[in-house]
Symmetry: C2
Subunit: 146 residues, 2 copies
Amino acid sequence: MVRAGKLSLDDLKTQLRDADLRATAPRLAVLRCLHEADTPVSHAELADKLAPEGWDRATVYRNLNDLTDAGLARKRDLGDHVWRFELLRASDTHGDAHPHFVCDECGEVSCLPEGSVEIKTTRNTPVRLKERVHEIQLKGRCERCN
Amino acid sequence: MVRAGKLSLDDLKTQLRDADLRATAPRLAVLRCLHEADTPVSHAELADKLAPEGWDRATVYRNLNDLTDAGLARKRDLGDHVWRFELLRASDTHGDAHPHFVCDECGEVSCLPEGSVEIKTTRNTPVRLKERVHEIQLKGRCERCN
DNA sequence: CGCGGATTTGCAAATGAGTTGAAGATGCAA
DNA sequence: TTGCATCTTCAACTCATTTGCAAATCCGCG
């Protein structure tokens, strides 16, 4: 997966402050992990990864939610009843309504080209359905997991 | 959504026995409710509905899972961290099931006609995407919440 | 019909993800 | 450096779901 180059500690701090969040040590650790991850990460995974560094589960949790509330990350459920978090990247900014493909198996989320899914209006389709949809999600098994 | 006509108690019993499940009273009640529902139902909704009839939450829960294991129903998470169950119907077995529309605001889930969403294959589309998708979810604001 | 063993139920207690309260620690603007 | 709002920590809590188990119920067989 394409990743921006390694970010310095200062880059991370700036990212947090721009989002009106204090740059605390555990917060930076959480943000760093999200940057390093190439698939959405669950709280448990992150907590396990950060426990050795001495951070509390609740702290990791609150930070994950803080980042989400601040608009830096997104929280989603891939169908397995586990919240997973991923950084919101420039390409994810709303407006362009490209659909997402979610792999049930590995949780990988990939972006599909805009227009690759078409909502058709039929006699039975609820009125103005198309205008009301702001996210399209396809679920299945990705090529790798197939 | 098109519903089969009202099913008799015997019809329900037959359905259960064909799936190798005993036709017990709570099981029949659960099955009946699923037949009556026109959207996927959560355990809590069903338990609340059946509590007055005297059925235990755990029993409702187990039955929901039994029906799912037996292939009569399907358990899914529409992205709001709530398991919802719906009967598997004949029309669902033809590869592409009907898409679901999930309201972000009220959580209401509605079923769209099969075929109302089309996956188009373009030059940029990952190979054989269509065959790998087994669920289509549209998210937005429903008419009521709009 | 009526038996008997396997399946189910009901209750209560366990589990586990996720959240919250409170007190002390820390970041940061001035 | 200081003041204080924001954070962290720990433990205790909530709430959905699961489990153990004794008692109740199904249903094939006689």
